[in-house]
């Protein structure tokens, strides 16, 4: 589902833009989804907060902590999502313990029932992903795998093959919110040699410039910590929507400027 959608968008010559929000960060957090969608997101990543987010930097750690202190639960967040209609695909991002706790099959069914058809589990490498991949497939959820700058060519091929929805290319050896690194470009390029699935660069993409650099080698970007920093500072859904719209515009302009794929 996710993948079909993203492939279609890509085929329209569009650079893919996937903004992130931590579920339950504020009472009105659902409004960020609406705002992102309106601003031209191609999909939206929703963080289901976990107590020990080992691949997240300080910003998303803080966002997760705040949401948990508000008392949010996976069940409650999914209910909230289920109650609204968002026009772009939704992807859940969470840590594996929350999956194990609910049970993989139920967890995936819950997601699908809430209208979430993608799933990213950063502490679940391909080697451990078999049972969840099966459950996700059964529930109609795309389990997206991550690739890192240190991943071997052999593993990259396997990841590219097994990932669903898109391939999540971690730009840098670091956590979310790290400095955007050129290494990501090489990784995305390598991945695009291996698969025609969309390849999205993530980690450290913060500014329109970063995004433009990223899409020189990737099909799109995931933007998380940069947005969440502004949310933590009090940025409203409208303000964040405007930021995403700005990114959208930069990407679209760029795509328009160099429609022939002759990016430097």
């Amino acid at each position: 589902m996710i993948e079909t959608h993203l492939r279609r968008r890509r085929s329209e010559g569009r650079s893919l833009l996937v903004p992130y929000v931590t579920g339950g960060i504020r009472a009105d957090w659902i409004d960020y989804l609406t705002a992102y969608a309106r601003a031209g997101a191609d999909a939206i990543e929703i963080g289901l907060p976990f107590s020990d987010p080992i691949l997240d930097g300080p910003v998303i750690q803080e966002a997760s902590g705040r949401a948990l202190r508000r008392g949010v639960t996976v069940r409650g967040l999914l209910d909230e999502v289920a109650a609204v209609r968002i026009d772009v695909p939704l992807i859940a991002m969470t840590y594996y313990n929350l999956v194990v706790h609910r049970g993989a099959a139920d967890f995936c069914r819950d997601l699908a029932a809430a209208g979430i058809h993608g799933l990213i589990v950063p502490d679940l490498p391909i080697d451990e992903s078999a049972s969840l991949a099966e459950a996700a497939a059964a529930a109609g959820v795309d389990l997206t795998l991550l690739a890192a700058p240190t991943t071997s060519a052999e593993r990259l091929a396997e990841i590219a093959a097994a990932s669903r929805g898109f391939v999540y290319a971690v730009s840098t050896m670091g956590t979310t919110g790290a400095q955007f690194a050129a290494s990501g470009g090489r990784l995305a390029a390598d991945l695009r040699q291996l698969t025609d699935r969309p390849v999205l660069l993530a980690f450290g993409v913060a500014t329109p410039d970063d995004a433009l650099t990223a899409v020189q080698s990737a099909d799109g970007v995931v933007i998380g910590a940069a947005l969440m920093r502004r949310v933590l500072e009090g940025g409203t859904p409208d303000e964040l929507g405007a930021t995403v719209a700005g990114l959208r515009k930069a990407l679209d302009l760029d795509a328009g400027r160099l429609p022939d794929g002759a990016r430097p």
């Binding site: 987010p53 080992i54 840590y95 490498p125 391909i126 451990e128 690739a147 971690v170």
Partner: protein
């Protein structure tokens, strides 16, 4: 392209876990527990480490170098002490394996010397470590100094405050101590932070994990590095006891490394293996299966699957999980896991001090407390032989005891 990814070995062949406490193979599984649940960024480092450890562990030169370090630097073998007076009082035959006598004051040094030597062999120049009570941090700083490596230790702000002396020891040994301000600011978070930091420097740094936890190969590697405790005790018991092996083998459990090392020496005997958890950190008694810090095991969590903080008077037992092999030993019935509360710990520590002249760590006192309880309740048959691993000395805990008394 297959539609569903199959579990695949990270490197080499998978050797299934045949005997009890044997090699978990490349999947790093102990039954359904263990594994390698880390971000893809860390997979190559874990695989490289597994390969390096397999290679080193099979290399007689590495083993000889490590054995020599353990002997000339850490003071191994540690003594096996018959606890004469307490035995008399309890009507059992109590033997203490004295890891409190090891250099730096606990069994942690065994693991750390092995990992530091391995890191050196791998060409790493820096050790990273998490620490709670500070014992593993001090051991890491020690091994780093000895082998000329840098050391960076992550420690929760709360722990830094309550373990000021160990922080200072680490600094004197030349280590950098990084305060962890996230989450509960204790061991759990310093482990997460160490993992996060490792991602940024996998090339030059080895993550020197402090217990039988974390992603494969750590639980297995740390157990192997700690088995010197059990192997020594096995030989010493054979010399000390007419029966050759003790009836009970008891150790406290934080992550589970001193217990795993001890149990490993007795896995193939008839000894009943008993792991003693702190009530406030009893993953087996009160946890459910979960995944944290790279491994699948029992884990304290709330009804929503959020990991809860452990609370024990013994900082070294303040961890919400338990090493995966212990989960497996429990499921298969090879070992039992019991629980001791804070209130039993101080009297047990005091009783050992007053009968045997040994001030053990609060962690170790959990094992003693269970033995006292079990002997006094008649659970231990009269004159059973009971081996307890005293995982560390109590000096670090005097401030805590002073406050408590």
């Amino acid at each position: 392209m297959t539609e569903v990814a199959l579990p695949r070995p990270a490197t080499g062949v998978t050797r299934p876990a045949a005997g009890v406490m044997s090699d978990p193979g490349s999947s790093g599984r102990f039954g359904e527990y263990g594994g390698r649940y880390v971000p893809e960024s860390l997979i190559p480092a874990c695989a490289e480490l597994e390969e390096a450890f397999r290679d080193a562990w099979a290399d007689p030169r590495f083993r000889r170098d490590l054995d020599r370090l353990l002997a000339v630097h850490a003071g191994r073998p540690t003594a096996l002490t018959p606890a004469w007076r307490l035995s008399e009082e309890l009507g059992i035959n109590l033997l203490l394996k004295r890891e409190d006598l090891a250099h730096t004051g606990s069994h942690k040094i065994n693991n750390v010397l092995g990992q530091a030597l391995l890191a050196k062999r791998m060409g790493k120049t820096r050790l990273l470590a998490e620490t709670g009570a500070g014992q593993h941090g001090v051991a890491t700083a020690t091994a780093a100094a000895l082998l000329g490596l840098d050391a960076t230790v992550f420690m929760g702000e709360v722990d830094i405050e309550r373990q000021a002396l160990n922080v200072f020891r680490m600094k004197m040994l030349g280590a950098e101590v990084i305060p962890v301000t996230s989450g509960t600011r204790t061991l759990k978070d310093s482990t997460s932070e160490a993992l996060r930091h490792w991602v940024t420097c996998v090339d030059e740094a080895h993550y020197c994990l402090g217990s039988v936890m974390g992603p494969h190969p750590y639980p297995w590697m740390v157990r192997e590095l700690q088995r010197v405790v059990g192997d020594e005790a096995r030989r010493q018991c054979a010399a000390e006891l007419s029966t050759g092996t003790p009836d009970y083998v008891v150790a406290c459990i934080g992550g589970g490394s001193n217990a795993a090392g001890t149990f490993a020496g007795f896995a193939d005997t008839g000894a009943q293996l008993v792991g003693v958890e702190a009530e406030g950190g009893a993953a087996v008694a009160f946890g459910q299966v979960g995944v944290l810090h790279g491994f699948r095991s029992y884990l304290l969590q709330d009804e929503n699957g959020q990991v809860t903080e452990a609370h024990s008077i013994a900082a070294g037992l303040d961890y919400p999980g338990i090493g995966p092999e212990h989960a497996h030993l429990r499921d298969t019935g090879r070992a039992r896991y019991v629980t001791v509360g804070d209130a039993e710990v101080i009297p047990a520590l005091q009783r050992l001090a007053r009968t045997e002249g040994i001030l053990c760590a609060l962690e170790s006192a959990h094992a003693i407390a269970w033995v006292i309880r079990a002997a006094e309740s008649g659970e231990l048959p009269p004159w059973s032989t009971v081996l307890v691993t005293l995982s560390g000395r109590g000096d670090k805990d005097m401030a805590t005891l002073m406050e408590a008394s």
